[in-house]
Symmetry: C2
Subunit: 237 residues, 2 copies
DNA sequence: CGAATTGTTGAACCATATCAACCAGAGTGG
DNA sequence: CCACTCTGGTTGATATGGTTCAACAATTCG
């Protein structure tokens, strides 16, 4: 791990949040898949609901392609997105009874499943599995803590910079200048993740754009032009 | 469980956040303590630092008395408290290398310790221990998710109502009207937990007081006069 | 190509922050 | 026992970042 990430510890490889335990395929499973996922691939269209708050949590799932958003909703419609899930991230791991959040497809998604009972059986037997899950859950907690700092104390531009950097870290351990990331979610999704409105997110984007920290490219791509400046901004320096 | 808490699921018994895995002494350990904590009790005075961001995480600790706050800080001094720990809550469980947050005593605290190596050994061997830790970590994630909704989307009075109710649930599974809770932390601490300023917290307290939802009693005690109204408020109804 | 959706920009507004004054209780020392 | 100070809390006045409302531009999609 390179120096500039020395203080941004091992949370980079696993940005999924909440029961969406990340096992980025290539990286952390040198010995093959950790779990015997079912062969059947469930497909979901853009914006299709995968499950809703209150649904019985009958199986554990892993994202095999696409992007999933998981969110909590208040009675009057206020929404907080608690995570964006990408291939390798898992869903419903911590759930015992019913889901406490909803999951929807941001873009077309495929999942594989494992029945809850089968999963629990493996958990009971498999030594290594439990150690890994515990480690991953710990990582999730660190990410959640980081997100609390963001939501509780950061300004709008700081939040967006933090978000862009965290997305960049999903793709590469060490984001470089001029690296490009894809943001398939809408401005509204980003807003609901960062505790802002769509308009504020849009304005923050243009601010970053006009101050040459990022460039907006076609096809939902963003180029991070000045990683150092973005990092400083995200930390409030 | 009574109807009014039917939707506030089994998260009540374990409100500690982040590596502070809760094992409320009386309730969840019918078969004695889960871990062989050292006999030596470490004591800390009010506001004393227990450890800081970046310190090596050499041992796991359990709170035996008092209250601990764990927080993250930004370079310019902005602070986000990510949890208040009470007797039975654990510290440093998820830490592998160094702590990513600070811990300080809100009021005088005593802790017991278990060396990291000893803990890891137990974790390696003890089947049941790992299952329990996994379950507790999952609960922590749910609480963190709830806190994200609070920080991202709730108004100041909603945040305070949510906070008071969560504190009440620590004491009793089902908070009743006229129940009393102790809030030993300062208004500034509460503000840094709720993502607000001291002044806003103070004003929210007086609002709740004048609308007869709570009463402020001597000795940092608060009486929750109308639990239903507080619940409605906390959910934005 | 036209309609619908998503994103951008502008202007007014508002909840909360900021700044400042004041108050109450707890020590502290004469 | 009484000033005196210190800290934490309350309240008021003003400022402001972000929201809201509204118009418009750009994209996507049928």
């Amino acid at each position: 791990m390179t120096p500039s990430l020395a203080n941004a510890p091992a949370i980079a490889p696993s940005p999924a949040i909440f029961n969406a335990l990340a096992l980025p395929s290539g990286r952390s499973t040198p010995s093959g898949p950790l779990l015997p996922w079912g062969d059947e691939a469930c497909a979901y269209a853009r914006d299709q609901v995968i499950f809703s708050e209150g649904d019985p949590a009958s199986s554990v799932r892993i994202v095999t392609s696409g992007m999933v958003r998981i969110s909590r909703m208040m009675a009057d419609g206020r929404r907080q997105i608690v995570g964006f899930l990408q291939p390798g991230d898992m869903l419903g791991l911590a759930q015992t009874g019913t889901f406490l959040y909803s999951a929807e497809a941001v873009i077309p998604v495929t999942l594989r499943r494992l029945s809850r009972t089968q999963f629990d059986g493996l958990l009971e037997r498999d030594f290594e599995l439990r150690r890994r899950l515990l480690a991953v859950t710990a990582t999730e907690l660190q990410i959640a803590q980081e997100q609390m700092l963001l939501l509780g104390r950061k300004t709008a531009p700081e939040r967006l910079a933090s978000f862009l950097l965290s997305q960049a870290r999903r793709k590469m351990v060490e984001p470089e200048d001029h690296c490009r990331i894809s943001l398939p979610m809408t401005r509204t999704d980003i807003a609901d993740f960062l505790g802002l409105t769509m308009e504020t997110v849009s304005r923050a984007f243009t601010r970053l754009k006009t101050s040459r920290l990022i460039r907006l490219l076609p096809d939902q791509m963003v180029e991070l032009v000045d990683i150092n400046a973005l990092t400083d901004l995200s930390e409030g320096c």
